[in-house]
Amino acid sequence: MTPFLSVEGLSKRFDRTVAVDDVTLSLTRGEMLALLGPSGSGKTTMLRLLAGFETPDAGRIRVEAEDVTRVEPVHRRFGMVFQHYALFPHLDAGENVGFGLESLGVRGAELADRVARALALVDLAGIERRRVDQLSGGQQQRVALARALAPEPRVLLLDEPLSNLDPTLRERTRREIRDLIRRVGITTVLVTHEQDEAFDLGDRVAVLRSGRLEQVGTPDELYAAPANRFVAGFVGRSSMIPVAVLGPTEWGTRVAVEGAEWEIERPPGHPVMLPGPAVLLSRPEALRLGEDDQAIMGTVIARRFTGPSSFFTVRTASGATLEVVAPPTAVRTGERVGILPSRRAAGGLHLFPAEDE
């Protein structure tokens, strides 16, 4: 499919720090992309470049065939929901929502009608005359969303849309935002540092680190086939343990780990790893507790209870810690246990070169 919004080789530096480093991305019409990364990864700068508040040092931003790289934000027709909403405090909810429509010359009855429709869209029908400081945080956010959507922008940009909300509100709001954007069908880029948010809202997720794009893919792809140790560690729960690669097997790699020998599946397309030191990254569900001559022995040092199952942290003889998921009553803290690869470990164990950061 031809991309609707595309970014090619985008770079931006502030003084000596590179905020965005040669990023190339594209979105199809109606797609939701989540920019995920730790603080300082350049995701907010990316969003501000897209909005036009910053000018890139290199690269292009295109909407369909139009190059918008140097188009002023005023003329770009990208809607934005700010992290702290940036609602105009001296205007009421309706005037806030109508602000962008007035820029388009919409007046009178049509203005009132479209404001009402935008507010109804976010489930806030009839609050036109309310002062924005009298609205709850969740309502303010929905007004900000209605304000951004009312002028029917080409692209919607969301800056940490849930960070200002009460944790108990987040999950519900997340669902509401997702459903709303699906319904409107607008191409959306959102920034977040919470992987739950990125997985839940993004059709695809772009993982950024130090301004560089580490990997783009669907949440499943990122989880099952992380491109490198950073993505693997940043996306999903995982633990790491140093291993020695012994050599390839028919469908995987044989490694020595804490005196045991395990066979790790090699994802299709991955190069065969040469013998030598490496790092094994494991998802908690890819390991199981069990006694066996190939088990790694260790001591349970912590348990995190989550209801149907618990996460046990186990310290091995070498001092590494591994997280294993098991029934809550399987073992107690302080007990000696053995750890084995789970029978359905496929996709949960990844080998990375030792020097790969």
Partner: protein
């Protein structure tokens, strides 16, 4: 023209205007002290250094200012603690009343003092009657009288700044100190005082600069005791213009030196680290006797501080020539106020002060707003120069600026940027404008800085251009700051005495000069009525500027 080009042009234009109005006159004064009709000369500097009267005036200025700081602190700090930390009966009302002198023009305070503590004032007459004295018990004259007026009008700086700092103290810090076993004194010394340091330094500087430039009190009460501002005026009256220029330069140097000294010492962390918790709860005095004493002290002190103003109101109802030796005036009338509105000669100063102050206010707000908007998002050499020029008049005593403007604009040399404005309608608004720039721009700049930059971006992303963003978003949000800046500018200009006395003409005589001439004609009732009008208008404008009575800054 590109947007950046237009911005650059605006910065250049503003810088040029400020250089011309603020810096240029000062430079001319400095130059004319050493350059006369006969060329370069150090004769006047030699005269200045040689004459004992000059050195005495300079020394007088210095020690009076230092002593004023000490006295104002002595009065203002305990008041701030009493009203800021303790829960007194009627504490809220007290808090507001005690801050009242902040909005009163200095001359009004001086006149009120005269009516109360002067030789023919209430207190003096009362004592003569009680003690059967033939002569007034004292003469309100000299350094002592000046200091009394200064302490009385300048304690407000210490009171307001220290009280604000006390309120901003994080209450949990006090609780933390208590839970760590620190007693009341140790908490005061180790927690409260360090927190107050910036406020104390700020108040001391403010008081020092105000005292150094103070003119009304030394002019009215000084008698033979001269400080530099009154000395300058006397020298001008003697026709020794170039000597006056040297005096002006010396006073400016003293002011700038003080500013530098304070700046280099008052650095420090202050209340860094931000504040999360709520302000400390006020201490409730439980023992009934202690509560009574604290209440009486609080109200008594407030009454004492407000007595001059009450006196002014009382005197404004006294008919001409009826009050001579009685402790209280025997007759009352509203005719003084009627005269203010009906007699064309009396109306004139009122009208003058209103339009002069209005023009100066509009111009000051316009310049301050332009500077604040231009400097909001970007810094550069010229932009920093604009900021410095806007702040400069604060450090320069009013007398100095009056002389500087009188010098710069009494010659017609269009090529040198000099025009004859002295003796015209425009010199006073210009002088007020220059004097008002620092406070007005401080109020407006802080308003602009407080604006959330993402509001501008939100407007842009919603398709609003620069003009629409300015009209629909920026200006409405700046309204409180603009009002505050405008009201400060108006109140200062409306009550100005120090620059007016050197630059006014009969046609532009403002209220302050009319008060003085009424006093000279022994028309005390009318003088007091003018004073009351000045007081009421100032207070009303100030209340409007601080967001109306409901949201007033001193409501607590």
């Amino acid at each position: 023209m590109t947007r950046r080009g237009a911005g650059g042009l605006a910065v250049g234009l503003l810088l040029a205007v400020l250089l011309w109005l603020v810096l240029y006159p000062l430079v001319l004064v400095l130059a004319e002290g050493v350059y006369g009709p006969e060329g370069w000369t150090l004769e006047h500097v030699r005269q200045f250094v040689g004459r004992p009267t000059e050195m005495r005036a300079l020394w007088g200025s210095l020690w009076i200012s230092v002593a004023s700081v000490a006295l104002a602190a002595l009065l203002g700090i305990p008041l701030a603690f009493l009203l800021g930390r303790y829960d007194l009966p009627g504490g809220r009302a007290l808090g507001g009343l005690v801050a009242l002198p902040a909005v009163l023009p200095p001359l009004v305070g001086v006149v009120a003092f005269l009516f109360l503590y002067g030789e023919a004032g209430f207190v003096s007459l009362l004592l003569m009657r009680l003690l059967r004295l033939e002569e007034p018990p004292w003469r309100l004259e000299g350094a002592g009288a000046i200091l009394l007026v200064h302490a009385y009008s300048m304690y407000v700086y210490f009171y307001l700044l220290v009280r604000a700092a006390l309120v901003s103290l994080d209450g949990s810090q006090l609780e933390a100190a208590a839970s760590l076993g620190a007693g009341r004194w140790r908490t005061l010394r180790r927690v409260v005082l360090p927190h107050l340091k910036p406020a104390l330094a700020g108040a001391a500087l403010l008081t020092f600069m105000t005292a150094l430039g103070s003119f009304s009190a030394p002019y009215v009460f000084g008698g033979g005791f001269r400080v530099m501002p009154t000395q300058i005026v006397a020298t001008r009256l003697n026709g020794e213009n170039q000597l006056a220029m040297v005096e002006t330069a010396s006073l400016t140097a003293l002011a700038l030196l003080a500013l530098l000294l304070f700046r280099s010492r008052s650095g420090g962390p202050g209340s860094a680290g931000g504040r999360k918790g709520a302000g400390p709860a006020r201490i409730v005095i439980r023992r009934p006797l202690a509560r009574l004493v604290a209440g009486v002290v609080g109200w008594g002190l407030t009454l004492l501080l407000l007595l001059p103003h009450l006196t002014l109101v009382l005197v404004s109802f006294v008919p001409v020539g009826t009050w001579t030796t009685e402790p209280l005036p025997p007759a009352y009338t509203v005719s003084n106020y009627v005269a203010l509105v009906q007699d064309p000669v009396r109306v004139r100063p009122l009208v003058n002060s209103i339009w002069l102050a209005t023009v100066a206010t509009i111009a000051a707000v316009a310049i301050a707003l332009a500077a604040a908007l231009l400097n909001a998002r970007r810094t550069s050499g010229p932009r920093r120069a604009i900021e410095a020029l806007l702040a400069l008049p604060w450090a320069v005593p009013g007398t100095v600026f009056a002389i500087a403007l009188a010098t710069a604009f009494s010659v017609r040399e269009p090529l040198a940027g000099r025009f004859i404005l002295v003796g015209t309608l425009w010199i006073l608004p210009l002088a007020y404008l220059v004097r008002n720039l620092p406070i007005t721009s401080r109020a407006i700049t802080s308003g602009v800085r407080a604006l959330d930059p993402s509001l501008d971006e939100a407007a842009a992303s919603l398709g609003a251009g620069r003009r629409r963003t300015l009209v629909r978003v920026t200006m409405p949000l700046l309204r409180p700051a603009l009002l505050a800046g405008a009201s400060l500018a108006f109140v200062t200009a409306f009550g100005d005495f120090v620059t007016s006395i050197m630059l006014y003409t009969y046609d532009t005589r403002p209220i302050s000069l009319e008060i003085l001439s009424s006093l000279r004609q022994a028309d005390v009732g009318v003088a007091a009525a003018y004073g009351v009008v000045l007081m009421l208008v100032s207070a009303a404008v100030f209340v409007v500027g601080s967001g109306g009575p409901g949201r007033g800054g001193n409501a607590g």
